[in-house]
């Protein structure tokens, strides 16, 4: 069979597509590369010409307690909100794939709707809602978590549903026939099989929450999450190299974590023999 590429595009067309692809890769990576470059530049302003190599921006932020506190806050918020979102997403995914319930389509529309609602509207809604009962919902880490769960749930559902669809229901039925209870079957059979997807869902929700700034900026109260801290520092132009340095470190750290978990997930899947 001929290569699909040969049928679909001429040689010149292919060259043009390759060129466009290269151009876009440059467009996507050059700004990030420039940031990295300036984080090592010995100048308080990110301007050309470059002055010299320094790691002072990196050293400065290590001694910045406020900054470290904001990273800890964001990590806590992200961990908690993604745990809740994965749990709720799992419940919903089970029902969507395996059960027939009255009102399923309405529920799925509701659960997926935060995907298309502008975050500013969600943030305002939460602010108005929390302000009705300031004693029950004092603005802070808890309220940010509540908001982040809302925007994470659709992503966890979208990751878990396809995994459930590929899962052979006969395995579960076999377990039930051999006398396992519903919960036992879930714990011993279903859960291990969907674990990789659960991990993926957790990571996506975690990254989403760690990076989220609009909802946090309205319902965080006096708490400072990491993106909020970065934003507050932008008012002082001389701190820019430091902010860039932090952002680069976080970028590198998240890349390492993502690659590590992806490798872990693949190893897990191979061991389980599901792929």
């Amino acid at each position: 069979m001929a290569q699909p590429m040969d049928i679909a595009v001429s040689r010149n067309g292919r060259r043009l597509l390759t060129f466009w692809f290269g151009l876009l890769v440059i467009f996507l990576y050059a700004p990030l590369g420039l940031l990295l470059l300036f984080s090592f530049n010995d100048n308080n302003l990110p301007v050309f010409p470059l002055k010299g190599f320094t790691t002072s921006a990196y050293e400065q932020f290590l001694g910045n307690a406020e900054l470290r506190a904001s990273v800890v806050t964001s990590t806590k918020v992200a961990a908690l909100s993604s745990l809740i979102a994965v749990f709720l997403g799992l419940l919903a995914a089970i029902v969507f794939v395996r059960r027939h319930v009255f009102g399923k389509s309405v529920a799925s529309a509701l659960l997926l709707s935060p995907l298309v609602v502008p975050y500013i509207a969600l943030a305002i809604g939460l602010l108005v809602f929390f302000s009705q009962a300031p004693e029950t919902f004092p603005l802070g880490m808890r309220t940010v978590v509540m908001g982040h769960v809302v925007v994470s749930i659709p992503y966890t559902i979208l990751i878990l549903v396809p995994r459930f669809e590929r899962l052979d229901v006969r395995i579960e039925e076999a377990a039930r026939d051999l006398g396992a209870g519903a919960f036992q079957t879930f714990r011993l059979i279903t859960l291990p099989l969907i674990l990789p997807a659960l991990v993926s869902a957790f990571i996506v929700a975690f990254v989403l929450s760690f990076d989220e700034i609009i909802i946090a900026s309205f319902v965080a109260g006096t708490v400072t999450t990491f993106p909020l801290y970065l934003f507050s520092q932008l008012r002082f132009p001389t701190l820019l190299p430091q902010v860039i340095a932090v952002a680069c470190v976080v970028m590198a750290a998240s890349a390492v974590i993502l690659v590590a978990t992806e490798i872990g997930r693949r190893v897990l899947e191979r061991r389980l023999g599901t792929e």
Partner: protein
């Protein structure tokens, strides 16, 4: 015919082996928890926004009574309405440019053979994992009067020190460029998915029947990839209408959008009545757009299936 048979096979595969079909309280209970969360932290807040917008709820104690005055003011040619249309226009520009820029990339990747396509796809998607804020910051650094582009122009003498290209930052241009930059990886994915699942034999068939490559693209590939195109369009267009931080950081006065007006009403202006009208209007428009798009998507599915 072939398409129909394949669709039928696909459906059978999707339904899979015989399913246990449960109904009952236990099942309803599973769905209750996530639904409840969304009702409390999404639906109730939306209703509250509406109640504030008609002044049944008010920030000022004793001032609660039903009135549509704020709505009338808003719809009667207020500057906020102009700002809304401007935001729609900007969102449209951003989503059209993103889709047009990303389509050839998705097409190129989908046509590559072997595992290489997934590796290269990862290369395009990876920037999406870089913090949203950092990607905004990058353009702020690049476009400013003292930024990368202008300082480069001074350095090379192409531009005088006191005469920077000032329209680069704090402009509509900056907001549009930054948002396109942020959304391209996101847009490429659904288009790639729809192109990747396209049956290659359809292209062979159309070539065998004498269609040129361009004709095959226009009559076969493009229509079949439309669901992916529409999905990516929606996922850029709708959030962009309410964009808040990109205009705040790189937009300046000229690049201000509807989201900034909303935030301002709840922040500095402390006018929850007006702010609620703006927010609820945005939600209404989004709901309406989704209804239109959803209809369009189903019609397409009927037309192609």
């Amino acid at each position: 015919m072939a398409v129909e048979a394949q669709e039928a096979a696909g459906q059978a595969a999707a339904t899979g082996p015989k399913r246990r079909s449960h109904t009952g309280l236990a099942t309803a209970g599973l769905l209750a928890l996530p639904t409840l969360w969304l009702v409390v932290f999404f639906l109730v807040p939306v209703v509250l926004i509406f109640l504030y917008s008609v002044n049944i709820f008010s920030l000022y104690p004793g001032g609660q009574y039903f009135t549509l005055d704020a709505w009338k003011d808003f719809l009667d040619g207020s500057p906020f309405l102009d700002l809304f249309w401007k935001s729609i226009r900007m969102a449209l520009i951003v989503s059209v440019i993103s889709v047009i820029a990303a389509y050839p990339i998705a097409y190129y990747l989908a046509l590559l053979s072997g595992d290489r396509k997934y590796t290269l796809l990862l290369l395009i998607l990876a920037p999406f994992l870089v913090s949203y804020f950092l990607r905004l910051l990058a353009w702020k650094v690049i476009l400013g009067d003292q930024g990368v582009i202008n300082s480069f122009l001074y350095w090379t003498g192409l531009r005088a020190q006191d005469d920077p290209l000032s329209w680069l930052l704090y402009s509509q241009f900056a907001v549009i460029l930054t948002l396109v930059y942020i959304y391209i990886p996101f847009v490429a994915l659904p288009i790639f998915a729809s192109l990747d699942s396209l049956d290659r034999r359809l292209l062979e068939a159309s070539a065998d029947l004498g269609a040129s490559r361009w004709q095959s693209f226009r009559k076969v590939t493009l229509p079949l990839s439309m669901p992916g195109v529409i999905a990516s369009f929606i996922f850029v267009f709708i959030p962009t209408i309410g964009e808040y931080f990109a205009p705040l950081l790189v937009g300046g006065v000229e690049g201000t959008m509807f989201g900034n007006a909303i935030a301002d009403q709840f922040g500095q202006s402390l006018n929850w009545l007006n702010g609620s009208v703006l927010s609820f209007f945005l939600l209404l428009v989004v709901a309406l757009l989704m209804a239109v798009f959803a209809r369009f998507l189903t019609v397409r599915r009927v037309a192609t299936g």
